[in-house]
C-alpha cells in the first residue's frame, strides 16, 4: 500500500472508493446518456414542430390571403366595373337620347319655329341654363340651326339636373355655333368680361364623333372651363346624310376618381384602362399605371412588360381571375373586369408583399415568439444542464466523501488492530478486545478471534515454555546420566599402562542418549583379567539403570573370585529377586589367565565371541550358551575354556554390530564383521575397533541406527 494525501492506495479504503466511483460514474453515464438523448430528441421535436408550424402558417396564410384577395378584390373590381358600366350606359343613353332628339328636330326643322336662346348670363351662376357659344368670326344670330337646337334647352337642363354623373351637356352645330347647359355661365367670360370664343368644330369630342360616325367616348381630357379631368361622350347628328350637329356630355368621373384614389389607402389600387389600352384613372404613385393626357398616353397593350401587356389585352375583353404579374421586379396580384359599354377595363392590383404582410407579420411575430420560446427553452435546458452538472458534481463529492467515510470506518479499526498487534508482537502482552472494535460486523468477530487467539497463544507459549523447560531438564539429566553411564565404563586407555602382557581397548557408541549395552574389564588379581560384554533388553533410562545394576553385580561377584558360571548364576538370582519389569541382560563373562592365555567363560545368551590365533585370522567361537540373565530364576550356566595365544586377539561385541542395518534393511552380519577384522588381523585392538566402526559406518550410510554399538578387543602380547 502506498500512502499519499492521507489516503492509502491499494487498501480497502481505496477499493471501496473505487467501487463507489465506478458505480457512480456508471450511474452518471447512464443518466447523462438518457438526458442527452432526451434533450436532443426534445430539441429536434421542438425544431421540427417549429418549422412545421411555420410551413403550415405560411401555407395557410398564403392560401387564405389568396382566397381573400381573390374573393374581395375580384368581386369588388367586378362590382366597380359593373357600376362604371352602368354609369357609362346611362351616359350613353343620355347622349343617344340627345342624338335622337336632335335628329328628330333637324329632320323637321322646316316646320319648327326657332326657340329663344341667349348668351351665358353670369347672373344665372349656380343654376343650370342653356348658353350659346360660337367660334371666332361666326354670327350666331344668323344660324339656322341654333333656334332648332334651342328646343332641346329644357330637356338638356332637366337631364343635367336629374343625372348624378352629368355636370353639363351640349350640342355643337356644324355652322360653328354651340349650345351648352351647365351651372357655371361666368367662366365663359375672360377676365375683361368679354365672352371667350369657342372653337366648336375643333373640339376633340366634335372631331371624335364626326370621325367615328357614331356614339363616341373621348380619352381623358381636361375640361376647357373647370380644368377637371374627365371624358366626353359625343354623338353626331345627321340631316339627310349631312352632319348638322354633334351632341355630347362631359363626364367628370369624380365618384370613380374618388373611389380609385380611395382604394389605394388599403394598400391596393384601382386603375381604369380604355379600349385603346390607355390609362384613364389611376391613383398617384401606384408603381404601374400613370395617367397621361390622351396625346401622351401610352398604349399599355403594347407595354414592354410582356406579362403586363398580355394581362391588359385580356382585361379589355373578359373578366379575369386573380393573376400574379411581375412588374419592375415586384409581384402584383391583379384582377380585371371589363366595362362593356365603353370597352374599357377596371383593373385592381395590389403588391403581393403587402398581401402577405399580415402573414409575414404573423410569421415574424410567430418567429419572435418562437425564438423567444426556443431561447427560453435553450436557456432552461442550459440551466438544467448546469443544474445537472452541479448535481453530478455534488453527487460525486458526496459519493466520494461517503465512501471515504464509510471505508474509513471500516478500515480504522483494522488499522488500529494491526498497529496494536504490531506493538504487541515481541511482548507477552495479550491482544485484548476493545470497544473500538465493537463495530457489530466481521471486524468485531475478527477482533474477538484475535483476542481469543492471542490469549490462547500466550497460554500455549507458557505451556510450551514449561514443557520445554521440563524437556531441557530431562535432557540435561539424560545427558548427565549418559555421562555417568559412560564414566561407569573403564574408558581411559591404555587402561593398564604398567601391564605389557596384553593390550585392551573397548568402545561404546549408544544409539540413544542412554543405552543398555555395557562392557567391563578389571583385574581380579595380578594374573586374572575379568572381561564382560553385556546387552540389556530395551533402551533408555530403564535399560541404563538395569545395566548399572548388572554391571555392579557381575563385578562384585567376579571380584569375590567366583567362577564365571557362578558369577552369572548369582547375578541372575539377585536380578530375578526384584524384576517385575521382566528385563534381562545377555552377558558374556570370561576370566583371562594372563600368563597362560587360558580363558574360562560363561555365556548367558550373548553373541559368540570372535577369536584370532597368533598367526591366523579371526573366527567365530561357537561357545556354549545359557539363558539370559534376569529372565528366569535358578538358571544354571555352563562354563567353557579356550586359550588365547600370545599374539592372538579376542573380540567381543553386542548385537548392535552384527545387526547394524543399511537403508535396504540389510544386516551388517557376521561375515562383514570378520572381513573388517581380517582386513588388519594383526593390528592392535584400538585399530581393530576403529576398522570395525569405519566399516559399519560405511555400510549403514544414513540409515538410522536403533542399537548401541559396543566392542571390546584384547590382545595378548
Amino acid at each position: 500500500m502506498v500512502k499519499k494525501f492521507g489516503l492509502k492506495f491499494g487498501g480497502l479504503q481505496q477499493k471501496i472508493l473505487n467501487l463507489v466511483l465506478v458505480f457512480l460514474i456508471a450511474l452518471i453515464a447512464i443518466f447523462a446518456g438518457i438526458w442527452f438523448y432526451q434533450a436532443t430528441t426534445l430539441n429536434a421535436v421542438v425544431g421540427d414542430v417549429n418549422s412545421e408550424q411555420q410551413d403550415a402558417i405560411e401555407k395557410v396564410s398564403h392560401n387564405t390571403m389568396h382566397q381573400i384577395i381573390d374573393n374581395s378584390m375580384t368581386k369588388t373590381n367586378a362590382l366597380q366595373a359593373y357600376i362604371a358600366d352602368d354609369m357609362f350606359s346611362d351616359v350613353k343613353t343620355d347622349v343617344a337620347t340627345l342624338q335622337s332628339l336632335a335628329a328628330g328636330l333637324f329632320e323637321h326643322m322646316d316646320s319648327i319655329e326657332p326657340y329663344p336662346f341667349s348668351l351665358p348670363d353670369p347672373a344665372k351662376e349656380g343654376e343650370f341654363s342653356a348658353q350659346v357659344l360660337f367660334e371666332d368670326g361666326v354670327d350666331y344670330t344668323e344660324s339656322k340651326y341654333l333656334g332648332v337646337a334651342a328646343h332641346m334647352s329644357d330637356t338638356m337642363i332637366a337631364m343635367c339636373k336629374q343625372s348624378e354623373y352629368l355636370d353639363n351637356c351640349f350640342i355643337g352645330l356644324a355652322d360653328g355655333t354651340h349650345l351648352c347647359v351647365d351651372n357655371q355661365p361666368s367662366n365663359k367670360y375672360d377676365e375683361n368680361g368679354v365672352l371667350s370664343p369657342f372653337s366648336v368644330r375643333e373640339r376633340p369630342w366634335y372631331i371624335g364623333a364626326v370621325n367615328a360616325g357614331k356614339l363616341w367616348f373621348s380619352a381623358v381630357e381636361t375640361d376647357t372651363y373647370t380644368g377637371k379631368i374627365g371624358v366626353e361622350c359625343s354623338a353626331p347628328v345627321y340631316k339627310d346624310g349631312k352632319l348638322v350637329a354633334v351632341v355630347g356630355v362631359d363626364l367628370f368621373l369624380n365618384s370613380m376618381s374618388d373611389y380609385v384614389n380611395s382604394a389605394s389607402s388599403q394598400g391596393g389600387y384601382i386603375s381604369v384602362i380604355n379600349n385603346e389600352g390607355k390609362v384613364i384613372f389611376a391613383p398617384e404613385d401606384n408603381g404601374i399605371f400613370t395617367v397621361e393626357l390622351s396625346d401622351n398616353a401610352r398604349d399599355m397593350r403594347a407595354d414592354e412588360n410582356k406579362a403586363l401587356a398580355d394581362f391588359i389585352n385580356k382585361a379589355l375583353t373578359e373578366q379575369t381571375g386573380l393573376v400574379s404579374v411581375n412588374v419592375n421586379g415586384k409581384e402584383y396580384y391583379m384582377t380585371s373586369s371589363p366595362i362593356n359599354t365603353v370597352g374599357w377595363a377596371v383593373i385592381s392590383f395590389i403588391e403581393k408583399d403587402i398581401t402577405e404582410q399580415p402573414a409575414q407579420i404573423m410569421m415574424s411575430e410567430y418567429d419572435r415568439i418562437n425564438d423567444d420560446a426556443t431561447q427560453k427553452f435553450s436557456e432552461s435546458m442550459k440551466k438544467l444542464n448546469q443544474a445537472m452538472l452541479v448535481i453530478i458534481a455534488v453527487l460525486l463529492v458526496l459519493g466520494i466523501t461517503a465512501a471515504l467515510f464509510v471505508a474509513g470506518r471500516i478500515v480504522k479499526p483494522i488499522e488500529y488492530m494491526t498497529k496494536r498487534i504490531d506493538e504487541l508482537s515481541g511482548t507477552d502482552i495479550a491482544f485484548e478486545m476493545n470497544d473500538f472494535y465493537r463495530t457489530g460486523d466481521e471486524i468485531e468477530v475478527l477482533a474477538q478471534a484475535f483476542a481469543t487467539l492471542s490469549k490462547r497463544t500466550i497460554h500455549y507459549i507458557e505451556q510450551i515454555t514449561r514443557i520445554t523447560a521440563e524437556k531441557e531438564r530431562i535432557g540435561a539429566e539424560l545427558e548427565l546420566a549418559t555421562r555417568i553411564q559412560a564414566d561407569m565404563l573403564p574408558n581411559i586407555f591404555p587402561a593398564f599402562p604398567e601391564r605389557e602382557e596384553f593390550d585392551i581397548y573397548a568402545t561404546m557408541t549408544p544409539a540413544k542418549e542412554v543405552g543398555g549395552d555395557f562392557y567391563d574389564f578389571f583385574l581380579i588379581d595380578d594374573n586374572h583379567l575379568g572381561l564382560v560384554m553385556a546387552d540389556v533388553s530395551g533402551k533408555g533410562v530403564p535399560a541404563a539403570l538395569f545395566m548399572m545394576m548388572s554391571k555392579i553385580l557381575v563385578n562384585n561377584f567376579a571380584m569375590m573370585g567366583e567362577s564365571p558360571a557362578k558369577v552369572l548364576e548369582q547375578t541372575n538370582t539377585q536380578i530375578c529377586k526384584n524384576n517385575d519389569e521382566e528385563m534381562f541382560v545377555t552377558v558374556w563373562f570370561g576370566v583371562l589367565d594372563i600368563e597362560t592365555g587360558k580363558v574360562t567363560a560363561a555365556n548367558a545368551g550373548h553373541e559368540y565371541p570372535m577369536i584370532k590365533k597368533a598367526n591366523g585370522e579371526f573366527e567365530i567361537l561357537k561357545d556354549k550358551h545359557g539363558f539370559v540373565v534376569g529372565g528366569m530364576e535358578g538358571m544354571r550356566y555352563k562354563e567353557y575354556e579356550f586359550t588365547l595365544e600370545k599374539g592372538g586377539t579376542l573380540f567381543l561385541y553386542t548385537d548392535g554390530v552384527a545387526e547394524a542395518n543399511n537403508a535396504k534393511n540389510e544386516f551388517f552380519g557376521k561375515d562383514r564383521m570378520l572381513a573388517a577384522l581380517n582386513a588388519e588381523p594383526q593390528a592392535d585392538p584400538k585399530t581393530l575397533l576403529e576398522n570395525m566402526k569405519k566399516s559399519v559406518d560405511e555400510f549403514v550410510g544414513n540409515a538410522p541406527q536403533f542399537d548401541d554399538l559396543t566392542m571390546l578387543g584384547v590382545k595378548l602380547l
Binding site: G538, T586, H606, G626, G631, E659
Partner: protein
Amino acid sequence: MNIQKSSHNNSLTFSISGRIDTSTSPKLEQELKNSINDCTELTFDFAQVEYISSAGLRVLLSAQKTMNKQGSMKLKNVHENIMEIFEVTGFTDILNIE
C-alpha cells in the same frame, strides 16, 4: 510389524509379520496383555517374522512366564535366522519351538 489374532475356544494364535524390535514390541506386549487372560493355549506363528530384538525377546519371555501359570505356549514356523537369535540368547532352553 503386523499382528493377526485368531482364537478357537481357549486357544489363541498370534500371526506376526515384520520386525519385532524396540519400537514395535510395546504394541505386541499390549496385544498380549489384552488377550491372554483366558487363554490356555497360546501359539505364535513366526512365519513372517524377519527379526526380533532383545525387546521382543523380553515380550516372549513375559508371555512364556504368564502361560507357564495358566497353560502352554509354543512358537511355530520359526526362520533360521530367528532361530539363531533364540539359540544365542538361550531362549531355545525355555521356549517351546516346533
